[in-house]
């Protein structure tokens, strides 16, 4: 229902930094309501569990386009849109290491 996850990497900086924690919900009802601007966690074949921001959703195709805020972010610009079913959590609480 809820998972506590530590962020690694800086692709969502400056909002989310390496070492921050996030609480995500895994409730399917809420995952179906993911929208642009939400931060989500999802499984990627190559990189494992990732956290990114939703840029847009193609509801018909069931695809989610995710991005980071860092210019060198590895995201949908590299690996394409992800499948909606690969979204495993939506961030509901951000616990930063330092005050943002």
């Amino acid at each position: 229902m809820f998972r506590l996850i530590k962020v690694t990497g800086e692709s969502l900086s400056p909002s989310y930094r390496e070492g921050d924690y996030v609480v995500v919900t895994t409730i399917p009802f809420l995952l179906r309501r993911v929208k642009a601007g939400d931060r989500i966690v999802f499984q990627n074949e190559l990189y494992g569990l990732m956290i990114k921001q939703v840029k847009e959703i193609d509801y018909e195709e069931g695809k989610v386009y995710v991005v980071g805020s860092h210019p060198y972010s590895v995201d949908s610009r590299h690996f394409g849109a992800i499948e909606r079913q690969d979204v495993t959590g939506k961030v509901i609480w951000h616990i930063p290491r330092r005050k943002v």
């Binding site: 530590k6 962020v7 690694t8 969502l12 390496e18 190559l46 060198y72």
Partner: protein, 166 residues
């Protein structure tokens, strides 16, 4: 306060990690690391075969040496796969694929041969791994506009490798 509390819990329980992955585009890619790693796999297979023919399987030193050869074979087969994956995933772009449409199949073949080289002591599979990575190197250098040449490695095993003709 909350952060410190969660961090302390994390140290005890080990929470999951989610990667906000960034790739600093250093632009330095070179298939030679993969080629040398694949060649090392063949070398380890040769050493294993040599040990098998000459060594005493009841001797602790035999097992120690065999273990070391197998470990190096494992590491370098995985290294070859890793290096090819990085170039394929991070460097190869749509325009390269358009020019070399067989690159995906070739990379998949390299992954399969790399795995077989880890799982077995099938020298032929390892030699095929070297050749497949040679072909990958030729594609890579072509994308850079650099001509290549083939020459035998100046050490054992003296298999043919692709080098940039700089």
């Amino acid at each position: 306060m909350i952060y410190q509390l969660i961090s302390a819990m994390d140290k005890r329980l080990g929470f999951e990690r989610a990667s906000a992955h960034c790739d600093v585009p250093c632009g330095i890619y070179d298939p030679s690391t993969a080629q040398i790693a694949a060649l090392t796999v063949v070398r380890m297979m040769d050493l294993i075969a040599d040990l098998e023919s000459k060594g005493n399987p009841h001797d602790a030193a035999y097992h120690n040496t065999l273990g070391r050869y197998v470990t190096v074979k494992e590491e370098h087969a995985e290294k070859a796969k890793h290096e090819v994956r990085v170039i394929w995933g991070d460097y190869i772009k749509a325009q390269h694929i358009e020019k070399h449409p067989g690159v995906h199949n070739l990379v998949h073949q390299i992954m399969m041969l790399g795995s077989k080289s880890r799982q077995t002591t099938d020298r032929e599979a390892a030699v095929q791994l070297v050749e497949a990575i040679n072909q990958f190197a030729e594609i890579f250098w072509d994308t850079k506009g650099v001509a290549t040449k083939r020459a035998k490695a100046p050490y054992n095993p003296p298999l043919e490798l692709v080098y940039p003709a700089l």
